[in-house]
Structure formats: C-alpha cells, structure tokens
C-alpha cells in the first residue's frame, strides 16, 4: 500500500517535490502533528572543550497515512485502513549547550513518606542518567498554625487550632548540561505526585560576553569633558 502524500503532511519536508493533487469524492484525511520540542537557546559564547558538546533538538512527528483507495470506482468505499508511522529524529546542532554548575531541586509536601518515595525515585533516575549527585538533605519542616473560634456565635473562650505542616526535601545536582538537565527535570516533573510542589534553582555559568572584554573608550581619545 503506497502512502499518499497529501498537502497537509507535505509541508513538513521542504524540498520534496509536490505530489500531484489527488482528490476523491469523499476524502477524509487528518494529520496529527506533535509540536517539536525545542530547548531554549543559549546565552554567551562558544564552548571550547575537548569533546564538542552539542545541543540536541528533538523532533517528533506522526504521519497518519490516508486511506486505501481504488481509483476505479468512486462509488463504493472500501474499509479504510489507517497506519500510523512514528518517526523519531534526534537532530544534533552545533549550538553550544548551557552549562549548569548547580541544579537544586526542592520538593515540598504535606506527607513525609511521599517525599521519601519521591527522593528515592529522583536519586535513582539521576544515577541512571549519569548525573552527579551533590547533597541530599531534609530542611526542617514549617508549621503554620491558626487559632479560630470553635463556635459560630459567642463562646470566645473556646477555640480550635489547626496547623498545616510543610515538609521539604532538597536534591542538589552538580555539573549538569542544558540538555541533560532539561530531560531530567521534565521526567521528574511529569512524575511529580499529587499535592507536591517543586522549586528548581539553576545556576548557569557563562563566559564574559565580547562587549565587556575591552572598554569602548580605548579607541576613542579621552576627552576632558565634565560628565553629564
């Protein structure tokens, strides 16, 4: 069964010759496009290192092939068979990767055992992906207490007290590249349990930009004008 390149799918590959327009009387075709996932661009200059670190772009797109058709008879409609072909392309670009000296993941929750399990999951994932773990520690919990009146009306001497406990867990990673960090953080965040919040503090390192290397007044003669 030959795949038919319709106009909708055609735009994906520039450079392909446009197919001859195929039209049927009752044609239904749809294309599901998954947006390509592009990591953020870099700041700062090129990274010179023995092994060139490159940014990898992930392009994921699906082609839904159209129905089998018979050109001979338009009237009767054959049972459509749909095949989904998944293309996964990992493109490697020369754009320099962001380098994070430290990535600190702080998770907050109301239940300590949930955070224990999440810590096990996060540390195991980091080890499997080859990330270097720094400190893993538990900051002290915060308790927010309220004292409210017990009764709807009067009875000021009788109160009821509530408290909200927030437990924390901090996982620090050292020497993470931009791509790896993005992959790891997305994996962790997609599997974040209900009722747990996360704060990620990233410390990116950059070279001094070119316009700060030399003062711009060097080329110009110094003028003895009072500053404005």
């Amino acid at each position: 069964m030959r795949p038919v390149h319709t106009k909708a799918t055609q735009w994906r590959r520039s450079g392909d010759s446009s197919p001859s327009a195929v039209s049927f009387s009752q044609q239904r075709h749809h294309v599901t496009r998954v947006p390509s996932h592009l990591p953020e661009g870099s700041h700062g200059g090129l990274l010179h290192s023995p092994k060139n670190t490159r940014l990898k772009q992930i392009e994921l797109f699906k082609h839904v092939l159209t129905f089998k058709f018979t050109a001979y008879s338009v009237k009767h409609f054959e049972i459509p068979c749909v095949r989904i072909v998944l293309y996964k392309c990992i493109t490697v670009t020369e754009e320099p990767d962001i380098l994070f000296q430290k990535v600190s993941v702080l998770v907050k929750g109301h239940d300590k055992s949930v955070l224990d399990s999440f810590e096990f999951f996060a540390t195991m994932a980091a080890k499997e992906l080859g990330l270097s773990l720094g400190k893993i520690f538990e900051p002290p919990k915060d308790i927010e207490r309220l004292t409210l009146l017990k009764s709807v009306h009067i009875f000021k001497k009788h109160r009821v007290q509530y408290e909200m406990r927030t437990h924390y867990r901090c996982i620090e990673l050292n020497h993470v590249t931009g791509c790896t960090g993005q992959v790891y953080l997305e994996y962790i965040q997609r599997n974040l349990p209900e009722g747990v919040a996360m704060e990620v503090t990233k410390t990116a390192m950059e070279k001094i930009p070119d316009h700060i290397l030399e003062p711009m007044w060097k080329d110009q003669p110094t003028e003895d004008k009072p500053g404005q």
Binding site: F121, G130, A197, M198, W217
Partner: protein, 322 residues
C-alpha cells in the same frame, strides 16, 4: 418466568428488560454476564452477579510489573498482590486491609515508578542527554573559564494559577577579579554598585526583578553589567575632586602620619641644620621609615590585630632608635 440457558453476552447501552424478568439488570450500561437463572425457588432476589477471581491470584511471580502499572493510576486492590494494611486500627485489632480502603486510594502511590520502570524510562531518555565536558571537573576551572553565574528559580505547583511571580527574578554574580578592570576602574565600579558588592568574596551580585519575564530580566542584568563596566573605565572631570574622605584605602603619602614622623625625625637631627626638603627626602629613603610606613598602612587598612600592633611597635622602636 422462564429459565435461561447459561449465556454471557455483551450489552452496551441501556438494557430494557421487562420487570417480570431481571430486575437487577435494568438501567445499567455495563458488560453483563448473566449466569444460570435456574434457581429452584424462583427467587428473583437471589440472582447475584458472581464476582470473578481477583487478578492477583492469576499473576505469575516473574511478571512484568511495568505492564500492570504503566503510568500513574490509583491503587487497585485487585491488581496489587501485596497484603498492605492502612488506616487507624479497629479496637483490639489491626489496620483495615486493602479491600475498599480509602486511605490507600487517597495517598499518591509510586507503583508505576518501580526500579525496573525507572531503568526502562532512563534507557529511553539516554539518547537525549549530553555529557559534561571533562575539562571542567573542578569549581576553580569552571570559575576561570565561565566567571559569570546566572541564578534563576523555576516553580512547579498546582493551584488556581500555574504562574509564580517569583520566577522572573534573575541573580547575576561575577567576580570583579575576572573582569578587565584597572585600579581606578575597579574602585569606581565598587563605588557605583554600592551594597551589591561583597568585599570578602569579591563577588558583584546584580538582582533584577523589574521586568515581567525572566528573559527580560536577564537581558537587563547583562545590560547593567555592560554599562557599569564601561562607565567605570571613564574618567570624568569631577573625579579630580576626590578627597581623602572618599578614598577606599589609607595611603601614607601626604598624610598627617608622614608629616608628623618627618617633623619628629628632623627635630631629632636638629644639630645639622640643612635644607629642609633634602633632609625629608633622605629620611624617606631610609628602611626604618619604610617599615613604619608599611605598619601604619596595614594598621589602618586591616584594623587592629595582635599582628598589626606588634608590627607597629617594632617599627616605632626602630625608627625612634629606642
């Protein structure tokens, strides 16, 4: 009242069966398996649907657990072959078991993230990761090649809004020793930034939060750094009016201490009345005077320690030949 043969048939949609027959089955959109209705007493209330064997009985020990819980799902007692108990124990007993236990359903479970599942996921994610360059293994090397540090915070939480206004804040930290600054430029830079410079660690911290987006704040921080750098190299006309009170460090030349010392020394040598200036120059050239100068400078700049006071004492003794 008829007797039916045992038949299991799939019915999707509403079942409209007359009331004389299966009363239990009316108005149900389900898979219905009707078993034998041959009850001798003809009692309609005894027609019960038999519950099947739970899946846990049929699970082999070496099964692929990632197929049972491929993604996050609530706790299913019939799908988890563990004898878990959870909840407040009943009087004289233990916690309730897993059948119809709300506590087990409420709490988030990690059954979909077993070590086997994590390994599988990471195997699939590995191609998208990059390696850290081997040359940058210590912090010192990182600081040498990449002196600018940009710190940002990202927030993930559920609530009425996904946004967190604190996410726009950007901190830019750089050591002044890594920038190309001469002496005057460095002092001017420190005066310009004020409290953003930490003398102990020699780090300038620029915190921007005036723009609504993180990228804008980052661009603003880089712009501020550029402006500060170029402005500090500029020498303005009014900078010539810098007074002693504006100086960051103590310098001994043309200070009251120098004048006092030279006066004292000239008076000690008052016997030979020579030209004043040449005497002063000569005195300045002496080693003891230089030592005294160093000790006074150190005392003023570093503060009073035992070391500095000792050095001052020794220098004074030598100068005054005590």
């Amino acid at each position: 009242m008829a007797s039916y043969s045992t038949k299991a048939f799939l019915i999707l949609g509403r079942i409209n069966i007359s009331r004389s027959r299966l009363q239990n089955a009316t108005n149900r959109a389900t898979y219905v398996s009707v078993l034998s209705m041959n009850s001798p007493t003809g009692n309609r209330a005894s027609c019960r649907y038999q519950v099947g064997v739970p899946r846990t009985e049929k699970m082999p020990v070496d099964q692929d657990w990632t197929a049972v819980y491929p993604s996050a799902a609530p706790f299913r007692p019939n799908a988890v072959p563990l004898p878990v108990r959870m909840g407040y124990p009943i009087k004289g007993g233990v916690a309730p078991d897993k059948k119809a236990n709300l506590e087990l359903i409420k709490i988030p479970n990690f059954l979909h993230l077993t070590p086997a599942a994590i390994k599988k996921h990471c195997e699939a994610l590995k191609p998208f990761c990059t390696e850290w360059p081997l040359a940058l293994d210590t912090d010192a090397k990182c600081d040498e090649h990449f002196p600018i540090k940009v710190q940002t915070t990202h927030f993930v939480s559920a609530g009425p809004s996904l946004r967190n206004p604190s996410a726009r804040i950007v901190h830019l930290k750089v050591k002044l020793s890594s920038l190309n600054l001469d002496d005057h430029a460095r002092k001017k830079m420190i005066k310009l930034v004020g409290s953003r410079y930490c003398k102990k660690t020699d780090i300038l911290t620029i915190t921007t939060d005036s723009c609504p987006l993180r990228k804008q704040n980052y661009d603003y921080a880089m712009y501020l750094l550029t402006v500060l750098y170029h402005e500090s190299w500029k020498i303005e006309g009014w900078e010539a009016e810098k007074t002693v009170a504006d100086m960051e460090e103590y310098s001994w030349e043309n200070s009251p201490s120098q004048r006092n010392l030279l006066d004292t020394l000239t008076r000690m040598k008052v016997v030979e009345e020579e030209g004043g200036e040449e005497v002063r120059q000569q005195l300045l050239g002496q080693a003891e005077v230089q030592e005294y100068k160093d000790s006074v400078t150190r005392l003023k700049n570093e503060g009073e320690n035992e070391d500095t006071l000792l050095q001052y004492k020794e220098a004074v003794k030598k100068v005054l030949k005590l």
